[in-house]
Amino acid sequence: MNNNLKTSVKKHIPKDWLCELRILFRLGIQTISDIKRTGLVNLVIITTMAAILTIFGACFRTALSISSFSKELGSALEISVYLKSSTDVREAQSEIAKFEHVVEITAIPKSVSWNKLKNEMKLPNIDNPLPDTLHVKVDDPENLESVFDNIKAIKSVEDMSYAKDLAAKIELVNHVVKTITFVVILIMGLLTVTIINNTVQLVIQSRKEEIEIMRLMGVNNWYIRFPFIMQGAFYGFMGSLLAVIPLNYVQNGLNNVHKFFMIPSPLYAQNLVILVMFTMSILFGAVGSYWCIKKHLQV
């Protein structure tokens, strides 16, 4: 009996990739059968998912556009650094270049500034009172302040200035957009998980007897669970597929806004939104199913 049992155990372990392939095929069939069994409810779930995902996609896509707008405005912002009269401009330039977030430094010699001023205004013939100036650009408007503080500590700096209010407003818009996107993701996740959870619970109820038999006959736990997880992921995938249609309209609308303001639309945005939407919906769908299984499927 001992040997028989061990032989039997070995006999049940799939031996080759063909076995694994057959198991995957059976799981696929089972998933399709579960989806069919859910009937018209599938349509309700998929359209609800699509509606949620459209809202998410539209928010995310708009956030990317607003972000590109604020970046574009932000890149126009720069810190003006006025150096002390005895300072070596190149030395100060290389010192500032070492700071994090600094992307570009343009040196304006005092002679250039003076000549420019003289051209614009009628000035008496006096010595040049202007300092050498450096225009410092940073990678992101929100980093302006920290770079400003770093430069301030340099001894050769006489005075500095930047459009603090404008930078603060741009930063606020960025912050609000990011927060809204995060909240939408959170709501989307919660709704998706709840919808999938309820649906899978219904499917589990309808297959209760079959699951009980499978369990008693020694069908692997993961084999019982996997079709439910696949079903959740399927709803996520189908919801995303349907949401792509309205999102194209959102994309076109935003492109027109970009054209109007003559700010280039981020090329990657639509692909990124679709990729994130598919990944998250499939993931949330599968996770929703998994939680439901954990709660309601005692195998």
């Binding site: 009996m1 039997s8 155990v9 063909l18 038999i213 008693l216 006959m217 692997n220």
Partner: protein
């Protein structure tokens, strides 16, 4: 070999289903577990296929102690045995063939082998001709035969039947017992729980009698009383 050593099963309401059970069943044996309702027969059966876990003691099957077996290992254990239930537990919306093939399909076995195994099992229980019928089209006895075919399709060394004739008339009960006897003659260990005294007396196999969770009789070629 199956071995139970000092096995006690106590439920949460302090009810003892089994008390200090010591039992050995050898390979190839046919054993009747008898007793009145509530004697502990079903609990004993459930311990053997790990549907219940003992409160204390050792339950060993094939040298493996399954008393505290991990939940993830239970399917492996159950696939090494066939289980037959009083209420048949068949999928009503599937054919006889599909019911029998259901579990082995999940193992990644080829269709050719599945056909051969299922047809073989159905021939043993005499339902080869009805493989395309649904359970609703079969009598109670025939449904139980499907249950037996499903239990033996995987070639297990052990068959556990929990009240297999509980829902059947005497004639069908006799047929089911004869099939189980034939299966035993193929070398498979068969353990049957029943309270059908006529069957037990007719077949004259080893009889283990339970009363209030204790073994009160263990007799080779025994009778019910």
């Amino acid at each position: 070999m199956i071995r139970l050593k000092n096995v006690t099963k106590k439920y949460k309401n302090d009810h003892y289903a089994l008390r200090n059970i010591d039992l050995e069943i050898n390979s190839g044996e046919f054993v009747f577990v008898v007793g009145s309702s509530g004697a502990g027969k079903s609990t004993l059966m459930k311990l053997l296929y790990s549907e219940e876990k003992p409160s204390s003691g050792i339950v060993s099957i094939g040298g493996i102690n399954i008393a505290n077996i991990k939940n993830s290992k239970i399917p492996n254990l159950r696939r090494c045995m066939g289980i037959v239930f009083q209420d048949y537990k068949l999928l009503q919306n599937q054919t006889v063939f599909d019911n029998v093939a259901y579990v082995i399909r999940t193992l990644g076995i080829s269709s050719k082998e599945i056909n051969a195994r299922v047809q073989g099992a159905l021939k043993i229980v005499g339902l080869y001709e009805k493989m395309n019928a649904t359970p609703a089209e079969l009598s109670g006895g025939e449904q139980q035969r499907v249950g037996i075919a499903r239990a033996i399709v995987n070639g297990p060394p052990l068959l556990i039947a929990d009240e297999p004739t509980g829902n059947l008339d005497p004639q069908n009960s006799m047929e089911i017992m004869q099939i189980l006897d034939q299966i035993n003659q193929r070398g498979i260990t068969v353990i049957v729980s029943t309270h059908d005294n006529n069957m037990v007396d007719y077949f004259r196999k080893r009889v283990i009698k339970l009363d209030h969770g204790e073994i009160v009789k263990d007799m080779q070629a025994g009778t019910y009383e």
